[in-house]
Structures are given as C-alpha cells and as structure tokens.
C-alpha cells in the first residue's frame, strides 16, 4: 500500500476492484464503511461476483474476469475527454508532458520493438527525447503529438463505451456510474482510493491491470494524498515483509536486482543498476543504491567482506539474463527430473500452485524433500495422495514441525508497511521449533559439513556472518544496520557496533552493514521502534488518522509515500482539510515528507516521485516488459475468439510451462465454454492447510462448492446442492453446486457467457472436503511477475453420477 489501513477513511470515493475486501480483509472494511458513513464516500465494487463487499458498496458492477484493462482504459478515456483530470498535478508531477522518442509506436495491438521469436520487446524503442543536458524534453501545454499525454489520449480513444461494454459484459449504465463517481475525485480537494488484491495480479496482464489504476490515480491527483493511493491489500501474514526481504529469485533484500552473469564485478553491478538523472530537480533516490547493496553484502559476509574482495560480491550466485527461476519454471524443471531436492517452508504448492496435477507429479521426481509446517498438508503428504502408490515414489521426505505466531517473538510488516513486534506467549508444542531456530541450527550443520576438504566451492557458506543461535532481537538489529568501525559524521561519532540511525547514513565503503536498507531506522540507539504503542498525534495527524508513534513504518516512518505530491508548488496541501504534510514556518509538518527539501517554488525543492529517475509519476512506463501503456488482451484461455481493440487476442509476452501437462484450451473452445474464477472464503486461509485443521472454521465452511447462476444451472440440469464435476483441459474437480444470483450471465459480443466461481482452500488431507481447485487452473504467467492466471480459465460443468472426493 502506498497509504495504510486507517487512511482508507479519508477517501471520497473508493474503487474496490480485484478484491473482495469485506470477506478477505474483513477488518479493512471498518475504514471503508467509516468513509462511506462519515464522509459520504461513494464505494464501488467491480467484480465478477456479488459478495459481502458488494452488499455494503453503493453499487456492484459485475465484470467478466480478465477484462479489467478494457474497463479501466474506458475510464482513462472518460477522464480525458470529459476534462476530469487534475491539470496542475498532471503537468507538474507526472511525466504527461515528456516527449517520447519517434521510435515508439503502436499498431495492431503491438508496441514497437516486438520480436515474435523471443516473444519480447526491445524496450529501448520507448525512451524519452532528451535535451543537450540529458533531461527529458517537455511540453507543459501537453499539445505535442508525441508527448505522453497525447499518446495516452490516442491509445485510449479506442476504448469507447460501446466497445468496452461489448467485451467486459458491463452495461453502459454501470460503466458510466463508476466513471462519473470515481473521476469526481479529480478535483484538488477530493481523493479516491483504489483497493485491489489477487483479483488484479493473477492474470497474464496482472501488472498492467495495476498500471491502469496507477494512470487513473495520477490523472486524478490521487497519489501521495490522504484517502488516495494504490492499495494492494496484501494477503499472507507477512507477505509484505517477506517480499521486502526478497524470498524471491530476482531480487535481493530492499528491492535491488539479483546479480546477473553479465555483471561479473561489483562495479559492473553498480553501473548497470544505479540510475543517473541529469535533472537537478530530481532526487533520483536510487542513485544511493551502491550504499545499500554494499551494506547488505557487509551484513551477509561480515568481516569476510572487504573493499579488496568487493565485499564478497564475486561469491554471489549469478543468474542468466532472461532466465526465469520462479515457481512456474521450477515446477516445469522438477517435472522433467532436473531437480534433485529442496526445501518448502510453510507453503502448500500441492494445493495452491496452478495446474496442481503437474506439481504433484513433479514432486515424485525428487530424490529428497524437506518440508516444514504446523500440520500435515497436501504438500508434506503428497507421496500418499489419492491415486498414488507410495511404493513407487522414491522421494525421501522430511517434515519439520514449526511454531505458530503466538509461539514466537519477532516482527511482521503489515500491508501499510508498519513493522509490528509480537512476543512469545507460550512455547511451541512438543518438539516443534520456530523457523528461525531450525534454520540457524541446520545452516550451522551445513557449514560444518562444508568445512570438509572435498567440498565444492564452500567459500560463501563458510564466509557467512551467521549466528550460533537464533535471536529475533539480534536479527532485528542487524536488519537495521550496524557500524562496523568508528565513524565520524559531522560532529557526531558513531562507535563500532552502534546502530545506524537512518539509511541516509549507510555507506558504500564497508563502514556500515544493513540486511535491508528500507528497515534502517527501525532499530536505533533509541531502541526497537517496532515495539512502540504510543497513540499520540498532533491535531493535524489526528485529522487523517496518522499514528506516527505507533510501531514503525518503512521508509523512515513515512506513513503515506510520495506525500510531496499532496501539496502544491508552495507546499500548501491540495486539500487543507486532510493535509498529509504542509510547509509551515520554513519546515514541514505532518507526516515525514519524502525528503526534507523545501517546496518546489523555492527552486531548492525536489520532484515528488523520488524513486523514479526523473522524479515524476509514470503515466508512460517504459520499464514494463509488455508495453509502456496497458492494453487489453484476453486471458490465455478465453471464451471469445476476438476482441474489439486489436487482432492481438492474448498477451504477446505471457509465459508458460512447456511440458505435456501444460495443455491449454483454444480460444472460444466449445468443449470449455464457461469462465472459471477462483477465490477464497473468510473462514479459510489460502490453501487451507492451517484453517481446515481448526474445527470451528471447518464447520463454518466444510467443503468445496461452485457458485453458478440459475440460468447456467437450468441449462445444465443442475440443482442447488447437487454434486457436480468441473473440468478443464488439465483436470477435474468435484464440488457441490451452489446455485445463486450472486453470479450473473454476461452478455458479450451479443452472446451469453457464463462465469462460475470456486474457492481453492480445500484439499484431500481433510477427509471428504474436496480436493484442489487449482487442478483446473493454467500455469501461464504475467511476463513481468510470472504470477499465474488463477483468476480466469475455461471449463465445463456437469452433474456428477457419483462423488469420491466429497462426503
């Protein structure tokens, strides 16, 4: 979230799309309803299914899964043509005025630079024209034919109401209701918040769904302000923190790139990854990256990291450029027998990864597998799954019993980036251990075994600065960062071993270590700030529900990021009633500003989007692999064979597995004419591995069901409560029919298209509750993130003669 949970109450309009917040983030709705009842905010829910979120919204707008960009592109068109955008904000704070190079183009659904062989773009075709100093050229009148604003206008002029309605299945009335209500937040004193979740990310155009919302928020001046923002309602207990700390192949902690083979030296790495801006008004914050990266290496390798050995950089593993090492390709490789063994901590991919039948078979090819969880799951016990013969499965499987949240101490980071400390209430049961304790112990044994002379390149393992025993508080100190020698900064001397007070003081010379620069400032000489429980506020902070002394928030305790965009060039808030920051008596008051520079009008300010090289909000985004503007493409499995915007039916860059089990139904396949979307229920958590083992939750939601419209039920001869079989080209799942008006047939291109929905939290280890819905979904991924298209695939449905998975 660019903003935070409480801040939702400041919105004048709330667009909930790709999320069922009331059921999946129930407490968030406290703030949605606060805005609705106290401010009179308009709450809109755009989603295929009517849910409890819809029931509490001003209106629910059903939309066919996978057509969000068409819907949002129509909104961009509406905002521009009806002059609803915030002119001063768009001109001063976004790249709308930048002139794009002549090599940029768009034709037949493809941007310039497309290579069909590699299914990728040459992104250099999409750069900006620069002046002699190397600063992007601008037309502040927004009239130049190649300025971003005019290119955007041309791109979305094609998204007319009729075309959008025809492909999304949304009525014209419903389109206009949302467009009008939401674009009213383009006036300076108003703000609108976008709330989204996996309903946007889990598509082959997932990133571009969010980009579309980003463009809308920039046009309406809704970024950096109270009650605005792009708010990912993040799931998973600490998915914000685990992403910040990079349990991912492509980055290292703090959102810095993982080294590539082409960057053999530390200097190569820094040259390729440190952006340069010639614009004196751009803070270009990432220019500090070498300080953060070197401090990370120093944190990892300790005394073994020296300037002479490039802080251990050469020991680091290096990836091949363009090779994807994510789940989708991991399981592809495992299925082909090219992986020997590995670890699965607290994750249930045998239930939650798309095309689960393939995942389950892939595990059989492993020689060994270490799992760690609180309960048995479809993953830990995969070797004895229904239909498998354990006597034929070679895998040596370990299961390490882990601790629950109440059984350990440490911090988690909420979706609003607040670092929250929790304490150990009781010891784990029996011999169960925390992940921290088991990992430290295991790694010490691995280190010991690698001390043997026959070890292959044990250097990085032995060089690690690794603890003898796990201690959360010590780790929190190391994450923040520590001086590795006495350092004098101005008048103040920081002794070796002292906590680094802020990432502004991290250095690239080895004098500081930090396991994550974003968290530098969280644990200073003043203590562990994540433990703070102080609710005191200034009246200005109280007016917008800002709690600067409760816990700690990255970066530098800034609660609303890009908040310099919430004020005009003189530092006066666009909306005085809900000011985030204000320049008063030669200083900023309110939230921690995005840099302490004075307002822009002084000539000494810096542009507000400090993480962008040019300091501007990116309406034109040349950094994305599938285009600088979002464009509508159908899901890879789609019930239609054409769409009204171009001949390019699905994403030209989507990724997919390549095995015999990666089957895809062809567009408008008559064998699979129904759209399936997947979701969850309030009472269960993700794959259900935890919550199915809790009697009261299982009783509330006991088994797998499929929601379908009465019209489809009638067509298929299915009654409410019947056992049915849902089938895609990849697999089948049994479910109980729930015939409900919550799902409506869509009128698309003059034809009725049915959509059904199923939760994915049930699995065979809980007897009689059903088995993985993800046996139906397809492992095709977004080109930027490789997140699979869980939210839209094509299936058929029939009444079952006999049920074996449900009882």
């Amino acid at each position: 979230m660019t903003n935070h949970w409480v801040d939702i109450k400041n919105a004048d309009a709330i667009l909930i799309m790709g999320s069922n917040a009331a059921e999946h983030h129930p407490i968030s709705f406290k703030w949605v309803l606060d805005a609705k009842h106290k401010r009179g905010a308009v709450v809109m829910h755009v989603d295929p299914k009517f849910s409890r979120t819809s029931a509490r919204s001003d209106f629910h707008v059903p939309l066919r899964s996978g057509t969000d960009i068409a819907f949002l592109g129509g909104m961009i068109h509406y905002i521009i043509e009806n002059d609803q955008y915030f002119h001063e904000y768009v001109t001063q704070y976004t790249n709308a005025a930048f002139i794009v190079k002549e090599s940029f183009g768009f034709k037949d659904g493809l941007f310039s630079g497309y290579n069909p062989e590699t299914r990728s773009y040459d992104q250099s075709k999409w750069g900006f024209e620069t002046d002699a100093q190397g600063i992007p050229k601008k037309d502040l009148e927004l009239k130049h034919e190649r300025c971003v604003f005019q290119l955007m206008r041309a791109q979305y002029s094609r998204y007319t109401l009729d075309k959008v309605s025809d492909i999304t299945g949304v009525s014209l009335d419903n389109l206009l209701r949302v467009y009008k209500a939401y674009s009213a937040t383009g006036s300076p004193e108003k703000s609108g918040a976008v709330l989204y979740a996996l309903g946007w990310t889990q598509h082959t155009v997932g990133v571009q769904n969010i980009r579309s919302a980003g463009i809308i928020q920039l046009l309406l001046g809704n970024m950096g302000v109270a009650g605005g923002g792009i708010n990912a309602l993040r799931g998973e207990p600490n998915v914000q923190g685990s992403t910040d700390h990079a349990l991912l192949y492509h980055i290292v902690p703090g959102y810095m790139a993982m080294p590539l083979a082409d960057w053999q030296s530390l200097a190569d790495y820094h040259k390729a990854n440190t952006p340069v801006s010639k614009d004196p008004l751009s803070a270009n914050w990432w220019q500090n990256k070498p300080k953060y990266f070197n401090s990370l290496l120093k944190g990892w390798f300790g005394d073994a990291a020296t300037a002479e050995n490039e802080f251990g950089y050469k020991m680091m593993p290096k990836l091949e450029k363009g090779t994807d090492y994510s789940y989708l390709f991991l399981f592809d490789r495992m299925y082909k027998g090219d992986i020997s063994g590995g670890f699965i901590f607290g994750l249930n991919p045998a239930n939650t990864v798309a095309n689960t039948n393939k995942v389950r078979k892939a595990f059989d090819k492993l020689d060994w597998l270490v799992t760690s969880d609180v309960h048995h799951s479809e993953t830990t016990d995969n070797w004895k799954r229904p239909g498998a013969d354990p006597k034929k499965i070679k895998t040596e499987v370990f299961m390490l019993p882990s601790a629950h949240r109440l059984e350990k101490e440490g911090s988690v980071t909420n979706s609003g980036r607040w670092m929250l400390w929790h304490y150990e209430a009781l010891k784990p049961p029996g011999e169960a251990r925390t992940f921290g304790h088991m990992l430290v112990d295991l790694m010490n044994r691995i280190r010991k075994s690698h001390a043997a002379k026959d070890s292959v390149y044990p250097d990085p393992i032995l060089a690690l600065d690794w603890p003898d025993a796990y201690n959360a508080e010590t780790m929190a100190r190391r994450i923040n960062g520590i001086y590795t020698r006495d350092v004098k900064v101005g008048d103040k001397t920081y002794a070796k071993g002292a906590q680094v007070p802020s990432f502004a003081l991290l250095a690239d010379d080895g004098s500081t270590s930090s396991l994550n620069w974003l968290y530098c400032g969280s644990f200073t000489e003043a203590g562990n700030l994540a433990k703070r429980r102080d609710r005191t506020q200034t009246p200005m902070q109280a007016a917008i529900g800002l709690f600067p002394n409760f816990a700690w928030c990255w970066p530098v305790n800034r609660r609303i990021i890009y908040n310099r965009a919430s004020v005009d060039l003189n530092g006066k808030p666009w909306s005085p009633e809900k000011a985030v920051i204000e320049w008063k008596d030669d200083k900023w008051v309110g939230d921690v500003p995005d840099g302490g520079w004075p307002p822009m009008a002084t000539g000494k300010g810096r542009l507000p989007f400090i993480m962008q090289t040019h300091g501007m909000g990116a309406i034109f985004g040349p950094g994305r692999l599938d285009g600088p503007f979002p464009e509508h493409y159908e899901p890879v499995e789609t019930p239609v064979s054409r769409h009204p915007f171009s001949k390019q039916l699905s994403s030209p860059c989507y990724k997919s597995g390549s095995s015999d089990m990666d089957k895809l139904a062809k567009p408008a396949d008559p064998a699979y004419p129904i759209v399936l979307t997947t979701y969850n229920v309030t009472e269960h958590w993700c794959g259900g591995g935890e919550t199915r083992n809790v009697a009261n939750l299982l009783e509330a939601e006991p088994q797998l069901y499929v929601e379908m419209s009465p019209e489809l039920a009638k067509e298929k001869g299915i009654k409410n409560g019947d056992g049915v079989i849902v089938e895609s080209i990849r697999g089948k799942a049994e479910a109980i029919a729930m015939v409900t008006v919550r799902l409506r047939p869509f009128m698309v291109q003059g034809k009725t298209i049915h959509e059904i929905g199923m939760p994915f939290c049930f699995g065979w280890t809980t007897p009689g509750c059903g088995d993985a819905t993800n046996r139906l979904t397809s492992s095709v991924g977004d080109p930027n993130t490789t997140i699979s298209e869980y939210k839209a695939c094509c299936v058929n449905i029939r009444k079952a003669n006999k049920l074996t998975e449900l009882s």
């Binding site: 050469k314 593993p317 670890f343 060994w368 607040w418 990992l439 393992i461």
Partner: protein, 188 residues
C-alpha cells in the same frame, strides 16, 4: 500504582517515548489480569499479531503455565481497534489444536508411512543431502565462461509465515548456498 490490564497496556505504549532499549525490550511481563472471570485469573497478557492477512490485527493472549487460556483483539492497535475476523477469533483453537505436528517426521524412499526422528538425526541427514546435491550440481561457469557460482538442482521456497528476522536469515542462507530456484507466496 494499581495496574489493571487496560492501563498497563496504555502505560507500555506512552511510556515508550524516551525509553532506552533495555526498558523497551521484553516488556510484556506477567501482570495480574484485571480478572473479569475466573477463566483468565492469574494469567499474563502477551501481545501478538494475528497470523493471517496483513492487516496485522493485534491479539492479546492470556497465558498461564505455558497454556493459552484466552485470546482477544487489542483495542489499542489503530488499524483494528480491537476487532478480529472469524480467523483471527479462532487463534485459540488454531494454536491448541490436536492436529499439530510435534516431532520431526521422516518418510523413507518407497515407504508408506512416517517415522518419528530426533532433531539431531534429521538435521544431520538434511545437511548431508544438501552437501551431496550441491557438490554434484555446483555450476562454476556458464556457457560463455562467466563465473556464476550457482546451483540448479536444489530449490528453496517459502514463506510469508516467517517473521522479518527469519526472512532475513533465509535470504542470506539461500544466496550463500548458490540456490537460484527460490520463490514464495508473493508470487502467488
């Protein structure tokens, strides 16, 4: 001063201003509960955070003799103001449930059952398998002759259930081993 549970928690909060780390440290010491009922009499209150979605609703756990007696939402946490959803409200039964695995388990190749093992045996065995696999699969240079120091026959995935401090160690260990096939729930 007489402490009841609400003022205790308030004090811990407001008292944080200007406190040193040592004072700030493990402060949720046992306090006498302001017992509304016999059930929580003599329990200590410990602050935790709900283990589900990332609103991070705070939970007050009432504990006696390493037994979880009761849980409730924390009204001081600004984002939840004491509220919990169905899952958050079930943390008591989640923590104390009979399906928990409490000993390391081992399934031998081609076996049809789990066996209980000691931590020592289990971790030594895993360390041995990691070493064999890594030694065999280590890739020093790629086809272009560039040094890559990576391992492609080993993987490590998960988890967003880890605390930040556990994540930081995991990220460090994975890179040291040279593992590149690594991922977790953020990509789901």
């Amino acid at each position: 001063m007489k402490l009841n549970r609400r003022t205790f928690i308030k004090l811990t909060g407001s008292g944080a201003i200007g406190m040193t780390l040592a004072q700030l440290g493990i402060h949720m010491e046992p306090v006498t509960a302001y017992a509304a009922s016999l059930k929580t009499e003599g329990t200590k209150e410990v602050l935790s955070v709900c283990p589900f979605c990332s609103i991070g609703c705070h939970i007050i756990a009432h504990v006696r003799d390493n037994q979880l007696i009761s849980t409730e939402g924390d009204p001081e946490y600004p984002a939840s103001e004491g509220a919990l959803c169905a899952k958050g409200a079930s943390v008591l039964s989640l923590t104390r449930n009979p399906h928990r695995v409490t000993k390391p388990l081992y399934r031998a190749p081609f076996s049809d059952k789990w066996e209980e093992k000691s931590w020592d045996w289990t971790l030594d065995r895993i360390a041995q398998r990691v070493k064999e696999t890594r030694d065999k699969g280590f890739i020093k240079t790629n086809a272009k002759g560039q040094t890559v120091n990576r391992v492609e026959n080993l993987f490590a995935i998960g988890t967003s259930h880890m605390d930040n401090e556990e994540c930081a160690l995991t990220a460090q260990a994975i890179r040291a081993l040279g593992v590149v096939y690594t991922d977790h729930q953020a990509r789901i």
